[in-house]
Subunit: 138 residues, 4 copies
């Protein structure tokens, strides 16, 4: 399988299918080996201690791996997460988050890989998520 | 350690610390062996296929285990998630979610356990999350 | 689906398919809601600090959930683990381990659930594993 | 923190602390950014279907991340796994396994990272594990 989408087609898809959140996301790079996004951080994403909440980092990891998978298989919107294990590594700044996805296996029914989450101004990753997505039959 | 909070004190804490989301949550039961909450589902929580999004279920699991831990150790707001592994089991209805937390280990520095998520109208759980929270020193 | 095997048929299966390790395992209870096994601990399972190694606890969780699944679907030996997330909660004694499996979802292609591991002489669980098994088509 | 051990000192440590299994492992590379090991596969590691068992891959991931951590912090043998989430991606050959560890966070009390497992003769990884180790105080 090979990367088949354009940045515009993925962005349009995100706006159509997830209108509630799409305006916060930005697709930075959709090449096969470096699928990367950003999430604009606003007050709704903060939590006590002046940091970004765990569910916000989960959301970015989930959306990033979803689009990284669709980038390879086409716009199958019913592709769904079956498992995610996420480690929170460092306290993020109150700044935008950046994600980088890696697909480790792309089979007929499953896409498995991981996502590193970075916070602007911190060199090391703030979270690491391993995800499995189930791909619906054609 | 034993359960030390009232439902009102936990609800007040949630409203104070997480004003962005607190109005969607309801604490149902805070007994030690059955800590349970509900999350009111609105349009922002939905995703393609007429179901509730994975990040919404993660959010409920995370908030539930956070409050189940604070219910035992007191209102240490800087208690933070270090790991969550979540399995999505069934497609939820577009209805409110119910959570039930179980603490498996409550040490000085870590709280470890799991949360089952139910969707109104479905008998079996729709998601199962295992979580670890790090407890700050006194 | 309902529980369909006998303790003897599962034990015979284990001896036939896993002759290297089967003599260390004992099936205690195979009822649908309380599938339980024990693992005899010997020197090969120990690690520094006078405790049982993590891989030994993983092995017991994996075998227990495998047999708990086969107990429901029949002896499909090619059923394979696709994911396991395990939390190590307490230091076990140098004594036999006991496991208790719970199936949370049994679909046509996946079995998902968790296993608690106990160490003789300790009331609280020493490990908790969430597992997903992939079931081969008929 | 920086890499501080030699291949010989880590190998000696493994033989002293884990005499039951040390002869099956080989340390290939101990540089900071490419900590790599191999595990010699024998009959005891096989399972039905002519493949290597899941617990064998878990064992290699666990030992590799343990030594990758000790390579950075020195020989603290009581460093213990607190969490591992492992995805099994492909059926391994009945050949030796190779592991590659990556440390994502090395703090005073926790080491967090992941390990890719390869099977000789297969280009893509056969398993991916995310691990957290707890480091004892000095």
């Amino acid at each position: 399988m090979k990367q088949s989408m354009t940045k515009k087609s993925l962005t349009d898809f995100l706006e159509r299918e997830f209108p509630q959140v799409s305006q916060s996301f930005n697709i930075l790079d959709i090449s096969e080996n470096n699928f990367s996004m950003s999430l604009k951080i606003t007050d709704e994403h903060l939590r006590p201690g002046g940091t970004v909440s765990g569910p916000t980092m989960f959301l970015l990891a989930d959306v990033t791996f979803y689009l990284a998978t669709l980038n390879m298989i086409g716009l199958k919107s019913l592709t769904v997460t079956t498992n995610c294990s996420i480690n929170f590594l460092r306290k993020p700044n109150q700044k935008d988050l950046i994600s980088k996805a890696r697909i480790l296996k792309l089979g007929k029914t499953l896409s498995v890989g991981d996502v590193l989450i970075y916070s602007q101004g911190i060199n090391e990753p703030v979270a690491h998520a391993s995800l499995t997505y189930s791909i619906p039959p054609n």
